[in-house]
């Protein structure tokens, strides 16, 4: 019966598939980084020292490690590994409406986008736009992976 089942279903997923889409690659990497880190966090520090900063640190670290091919990933990793204590990742920027000129507005918005993207301040406009596209896609993947994890544990 086993053979029948296998022969019937042509789709076979091996453990290490050769051709993976980038989203799959990312998700695998991400979960393989994050889950052990969370487990370790949970086991080592029993609920006393676990706060949002450390969790966020782990989450961001997992993202950065899984997205090394992008500039923002590398920048994020750099930032995380160098300055651990600083949790200055609050991304609420005030929109300064100085000029009602259309070009001025667009400039302001570009600057805001730059601040949202990790490492965006050092990029020029073109580069930033393409990096933002990647960043959005990988944020979506990260969100779905995190939701899975959260669903599993609650």
């Amino acid at each position: 019966m086993e053979r029948q089942i296998i022969s019937k279903k042509k789709q076979v997923f091996s453990v290490e598939p050769t051709k993976l889409s980038p989203s799959e690659v990312f998700t695998r990497k991400y979960t393989s980084h994050l889950v052990p880190a969370l487990k370790k966090l949970n086991m080592d520090k029993n609920s006393s020292q676990i706060n949002q900063v450390t969790v966020k640190h782990e989450v961001d670290m997992a993202l950065a490690l899984s997205a090394q091919e992008f500039a923002w990933g590398r920048f994020l990793l750099q930032k995380l590994s160098s300055a651990d204590s600083k949790s200055s990742s609050s991304n609420q920027t005030q929109i300064l409406e100085r000029s009602n000129d259309e070009d001025g507005e667009i400039e302001e918005k570009m600057k805001e986008l730059q601040e949202l993207l990790p490492g965006g301040k050092e990029m020029n406009v073109e580069e930033m736009l393409s990096e933002i596209g990647n960043y959005i896609k990988y944020l979506e993947l990260q969100t779905s992976a995190l939701k899975t994890i959260v669903q599993d544990t609650t």
Binding site: E2, Q11, F13, S23, M43, Q151
Partner: protein
């Protein structure tokens, strides 16, 4: 294209301000050069213009006659003298030598009507010359302008003939650059290096904006760069907030369950989910309700399985039957608990919908 037409009209108006004499001189000189370069057409042109001039002169002559008759005898002398000059003009033109100064002088003596006639005649000849240019040189830029001009009225055509010469020089410089950057220079736009690079840069940016428009949901309705950028900013902030929320829930919820969190099961589930939902994932954010359905089904499975179970092969279920545990891979060392009925039904629905098989 419309903009170029409009600009041409305005240019033509400004050209009208320039003295007629200078323009006609220049045009005549152009024609003269053209005529000299091409042999076959030259004779035709000369004939054409010769007839033109004859007609003009005759009309002028008749006009002058009328004037002369209308006025008093005082003008007889002037008439006579002008007659002499006109004779001279006629003689010169009849010998088929183009003397621009004289012809222009004759034209200037006319009334506006005759000037209009002369201009029209010149235009006809110019159209011929321009067509020759087109066939001879065959520069892309000029071809574009030619096709534009054919749809327009005659008035603008004369003005544009002066521009075509400028365009030819531009076209030459552009051909050199065409190998490197394929940016088409439109009429009235500068073609120096800086503005070309600027234009290429702007096109790249607009391409990227279009890509972002596809990526961010809801961007299609908004038009304009500012609105789109707003949407993108909102979307990125929203995603980041979602991450923060899930961070918080991970902290708030009892973290003891993290111990049971099985990496491989999670990976399995996620890769399965991705395989099913991959096309949607690539394009946009997947429907959260769909995900919820999958998650709620499977989280029972994961919670009920013991943590020692590492490489559990998950075979697809039949439509009716339950999971046959005896079928499990003999390589499996640990034993599997009997599944709870709730697991059976839920996983059955899950597998029926996805119909995937795993093999290790």
């Amino acid at each position: 294209m419309l903009e170029s037409l409009v600009s041409l009209e305005s240019m033509s108006l400004s050209f009208m301000d320039v003295s007629v004499l200078e323009r006609l001189k220049w045009l005549q000189q152009q024609q003269y050069q053209q005529v000299q370069s091409s042999t076959n057409a030259s004779s035709e042109l000369l004939q054409f213009q010769g007839t033109n001039n004859d007609e003009l002169l005759q009309s002028n002559f008749s006009h002058f006659q009328m004037l002369g008759s209308g006025f008093a005898q005082n003008y007889g002398m002037g008439f006579g003298s002008s007659h002499d000059t006109m004779d001279g003009c006629i003689s010169r033109t009849s010998s088929c030598q183009m003397d621009p100064a004289d012809t222009i002088g004759v034209i200037l003596k006319n009334s506006e009507e005759n000037i209009a006639i002369s201009l029209k005649n010149k235009r006809k000849s110019e159209i011929k010359t321009r067509e020759e240019e087109k066939t001879e040189k065959k520069i892309k830029v000029e071809a574009e302008t030619e096709s534009n001009m054919k749809g327009k009225s005659n008035v603008s055509n004369t003005e544009s003939s002066s521009d075509t010469s400028k365009q030819t020089s531009k076209g030459a410089s552009e051909i050199q650059k065409l190998d490197y950057i394929h940016v088409r220079a439109r009429r009235g736009q500068a073609t120096d290096r800086h503005s070309l690079a600027e234009r290429a840069r702007r096109e790249k940016i607009s391409k990227k904006m279009k890509y972002l428009q596809d990526l961010v949901p809801g961007c299609n309705k908004v038009t304009g760069r500012a609105g789109m950028l707003d949407e993108i900013i909102n979307y990125v902030q929203c995603l980041q907030r979602q991450v923060e929320v899930s961070n918080e829930t991970m902290i708030i919820s009892p973290l003891t369950k993290f111990r049971s969190l099985n990496r491989d099961n999670l990976l399995q589930f996620l890769s399965m989910k991705l395989a099913v939902l991959n096309p949607e994932l690539e394009l946009a954010l997947e429907d959260l309700s769909v995900k919820q359905a999958y998650f709620t089904n499977l989280h029972v499975v994961v919670a009920s399985k013991p943590s020692t179970l590492v490489d559990a092969p998950l075979f697809p279920l039949d439509q009716q039957g339950s999971l046959d545990l005896s079928v499990i891979n003999p390589n499996q060392t640990t034993s599997i608990e009997a599944p709870s009925p709730s697991w059976e039904t839920q996983s059955k629905s899950l597998y029926n919908s996805s119909s995937l098989g795993y093999q290790y």
